[in-house]
Symmetry: C2
């Protein structure tokens, strides 16, 4: 170790969130977080949804500490502890000649770390912030500690923090292999294809207004495994076939197959939630209306234009075949779910604003002027649901974790080792 | 046949509706209406929910005609035709000496009938009006035609008109045996216990406000059978066990078991609807809130007080253990779902008003004065959903079909053979 006690060594990384298109729901091991089936996800562009985490080590630190979105949070949970313990066991010598810092492999057992993490999207929106967060914690600490294992090995560590976090170690299209080993060593994420493989997909996330507290996914999936009469059939008979078909659809950029599988699997995940005792309802009337809007349009066109998928909450993640269908989708969504009159268009549709331009929407008046989509039956007056959506995020499939070498983006003050 | 052409012979009958507690969803034969699993239902008291049907025969009638709730409706549908054809084949000699009427067995092939039917509850409320309607049509025509087969045999005829109608041929607790024969002859209803066997149950039906048109159960169950990856597992593996357990629970008046099975099976039926492509949503946010209210209370008490079950629509059918729990349930329901201020209590809670008295509710002010139920967590302000419920019906398990011999209750003018 270096002679002085005043140095602080930091690393900053950015990690994306991801949305499963073949769902993870149910653990076979609660401690190691081992799932009852494989799952497949799409990584979302970190420009619009990501976690940024800075980690620091210093001989002056007296214990491990963490700050999330500006607030210190306890690191005592067994899941955090498992991640930290495993990372320390894989740590290596670190030498930074400029600062005269030298950490040997065995020093890591005694050194403490500070972790400072921010999401660039509201945590409360139910957008899998824990997946990006745990992945970023593991990825940035691994870089700090000079852990040499590849991202698949790191994914097995992140998995023990938050199951779906393992899928955030890669960009593009990612499979979480459930594995067979009791110790979970083969329950890892692998990349099926990077984000450039299928780059015309456009993703619109509909954040649905909701004041109700939802069942946490941790307790929800435990209750499903314990009480649903359908979950084992899903995990053993249905998902394995869908995994093969989804890999094929992704490989071939076969949007109709991709869409059918994603929609069916989202619906089946919510079906087994409903088959739980007591039943779990994540989707709301608004979620159902979004599905009906998409299903009606897909049927009208004769081939899927848009896929939908819902995680453990009411928000819709809508995956469009391309920019053109995304603009048409946004028109439909804004027609059915116009903003409150006092809203600001700039905060009602966020992310990639070019989709809004493609849809021909410059201001709120353009939304009010939208005509009903042609698939609406003539004899049924089209109903609008003003205020039922909080906002929309336009995004796309994106890259995996990266180290941000620009010091100015660090969240940690290099003098004090505390949050900036 | 009698010499003159001016006589009209009529029969009037009243038939209950029923609510399944182990659900029928999915046919193995669309024409004969043969189900993919057994089901069990509770017959509802016809004083509050029933169909009254008068049928008439006269040599003056030129073709079969039917009037439903005051409007003439076509009888040309294959389902009606199958019922009429089978009843004619089982008809026998009829002699009414007073009126000098004599119809021989073979005359029925040439004679035409008039059918006039009324529901004592709103058809639009989605309360299985077709079950009571078809059962009543078959039962009353069987009496008119002197059909000698017992109600189980008649149930197989009613089944061909509307599947769940077969269960309305008996009072109390009824099982529809799916049967094995290709011609459907053994797909019949049998009575498990009559309505006196378990007479402290009280049923509250919550009619939920909804403007949306629902998927018809006929097309809904067809789509589920064609597209759900879970329905066959439900029909073959889950339901057979539940049927045995539900028969046992009914026999032993074991309310906790009855409640657990009914709730689980209702939820699983809605789960397979959600697993259908495109997904079918019958329950609304209001339905989910009713379930949460019941689940929270049942958990708080440590043993089930109330069972819930939902058919192909958003309305809840809540089965209370006894009068006391029914009054407590009604207090909870009125607390969460108070009427609009301009409402009339008399039309907001209908049916057996004595439950309202037991709940201590004399007028609308008593509803506003209700305190939050004790199971609400102290730190969560209790939310109210005014206007989300149209009305409540208080009822109980009830008797099977009966002939109404009082001529004044006939819906047919005995002179003209037309609706009164």
């Amino acid at each position: 170790m270096a002679a002085g006690k005043n140095w602080v060594l930091t690393v900053t990384a950015q990690t994306p969130t991801n949305i499963a298109v073949i769902k993870y729901w149910g653990k076979r091991d609660e401690d190691l977080i081992l799932p009852i089936n494989d799952s497949i996800s799409v990584t979302l562009d970190p420009d619009h949804l990501c976690t940024t985490t800075s980690v620091a080590v210093s001989p002056a630190f007296t214990h491990d500490r963490m700050w999330l979105n500006g607030k210190e949070v306890p690191l005592s949970g067994v899941r955090y502890q498992n991640c930290l313990k495993e990372l320390r066991s894989l740590a290596n010598d670190v030498e930074e000649e400029e600062k005269g810092i030298k950490i040997s492999k065995k020093d890591w057992e005694k050194l403490h770390v500070h972790i400072v993490s921010y999401n660039n999207f509201p945590t409360a929106a139910g957008l899998a912030s824990s997946a990006a967060g745990l992945a970023c914690l593991v990825f940035s600490l691994a870089k700090l500690m000079n852990v040499k294992e590849d991202n698949s090995r790191l994914s097995a560590i992140a998995r023990q923090g938050s199951g779906s976090a393992c899928r955030s170690l890669y960009g593009g299209f990612v499979k979480w292999i459930m594995g067979k080993e009791e110790n979970g060593s083969d329950s890892i994420a692998v990349q099926l294809a990077d984000e450039k493989h299928w780059d015309d997909l456009v993703i619109i996330i509909v954040v649905v207004s909701s004041r109700q507290k939802e069942t946490s996914s941790t307790s929800g999936m435990r209750e499903t495994v314990e009480t649903s009469a359908l979950i084992q059939h899903r995990a053993k008979e249905v998902v394995p076939k869908r995994i093969i078909q989804m890999e094929e659809a992704t490989k071939n950029r076969d949007f109709p197959a991709f869409s059918r599988l994603a929609c069916a699997d989202s619906n089946q995940f919510h079906a087994v939630c409903l088959d739980t005792l007591p039943p779990i309802f994540y989707m709301k009337d608004t979620s159902h209306r979004i599905i009906s809007c998409v299903e009606k349009w897909n049927r009208f066109e004769g081939t899927p234009q848009v896929a939908y998928t819902f995680d453990a909450g009411p928000n819709a993640v809508l995956i469009s075949h391309n920019r053109k269908t995304a603009a048409q989708l946004l028109q439909r969504l804004l027609f059915y779910f116009p903003p409150q009159s006092e809203a600001d268009l700039n905060s009602y549709v966020i992310g990639d604003k070019s989709i809004l331009q493609d849809a021909g929407i410059q201001d709120l008046k353009d939304i009010e002027a939208l005509s009903p989509p042609p698939e609406i039956e003539d004899n049924i007056p089209s109903q609008k649901y003003r205020g039922d959506v909080s906002y929309f995020i336009c995004t796309r499939p994106g890259r995996g974790p990266v180290v941000l070498s620009d010091e100015s983006r660090s969240l940690i003050n290099p003098e004090t080792g505390l949050p900036k």
